[in-house]
Amino acid sequence: MGCVAVRGGLKAIENAERLVRYFRVKGDSWSLEVKQIREQFRLAVDQVMAEGSLYAPLYAAAALKQAEGDTIEVSFILRALRSSLPRNHYAVVADTREMEIIRRISATFKDIPGGQILGPTRDYTQRLLDFSLMEEGSSEIQKFKDEFLTGLGDDDSPDFPKIVEMLRREGLLEEPPPKPDEPLVDITREALKFLAPRSARLQVLARGETGGMLAIAYSVDFLSSRIRNAII
């Protein structure tokens, strides 16, 4: 069967757009404030900004509202927005050792310099539904915040050396052979060609879809353990 060219459907498309808006607002609740999404859907905002390759928290929150929380759709919206804006500058290469850290754990090294800091994680919870959130009131929130912020210490953030540097110092990992910086590939400006250089691969991974990255990471982990077992 071949392809058949058709026309029409414009009216249906317009109505579908109106319909999707109607489905978002047809309930009798207040319209969500973008600021609420920005602050209380912190991780969804972070995810779509990473996948959309655009750091713009308020726009990301608005896009989450527009797409009713469909994160892949939001990433497309942000990527479309990104492609419509002028890129005026390139930042100086950031030194990731200067990152502000809110979570730092190592499964391999118990005594990592700077200590193991769990940070705001749900990893050690039992994933039970918190029914109290059904009726969370502003007075309860204020009470919790007052309690939480009482008696905080005044330790300044220590430096967190990279584990890889520690391994290199102890001779457990080779120093990378010194080589000049390769010309940077920008996959948003040039089509991805294989074998892709390292800078292109890292850029692809940085903006990869979260579920896809998880699948790749686990399959790599699985394969490497198969290889390890075969060697042993």
Binding site: S53, L54, Y55, N88, H89, A91, G119, T188, R198, L202
Partner: protein, 142 residues
């Protein structure tokens, strides 16, 4: 850039929006000849990072910023801030100009920014202190 200039730029990046607005308005009242050359406009900055395995840089992703340029005579001031925030970009450009030229109520601006620096440092310390509570204290068994 001078050490002092670098310090003020770091503060200006996080200065409270209300305080920034007040300072900029006081400058504009004192030096009304300041004119806008490029009105606030959103654009992107590509952020690059260096990975630590092969020490190679790569393009991490873009950041939405608002930029604005103002001028007084031949001198120009440039403001750039995160997000879509035309007022902030304009006010930053005004302060950049007068801090560079040393005209207008510079001493008052510098004093206000140093007070802000203290607030910002305190904010950072409090945030880290709340996070530091989740540091694991290992007890060695046996």
């Amino acid at each position: 850039m001078s050490e002092k200039g670098e310090r003020f730029r770091t503060i200006l990046h996080r200065v409270d929006k209300g305080i920034l607005g007040q300072l900029a308005r006081s400058v504009l009242a004192a030096v009304p000849e300041i004119r806008v050359i490029k009105p606030p406009q959103v654009g992107l900055v590509m952020i690059r990072a260096r990975e630590t395995v092969e020490n190679q840089p790569f393009n991490l992703g873009e950041v939405l910023v608002t930029e604005c340029t103002v001028a007084l005579g031949e001198a120009t001031g440039w403001g750039c801030c995160l997000g879509d925030d035309p007022d902030r970009a304009y006010h930053l450009a005004v302060l950049d100009l007068v801090l560079h030229l040393g005209v207008g109520p510079v001493e008052r601006i510098e004093a206000a920014l140093l007070a802000e620096e203290e607030r910002i440092l305190q904010e950072d310390v409090s945030e880290f202190a709340s996070i530091a509570r989740s540091q694991v204290q290992f007890d060695v068994l046996g």
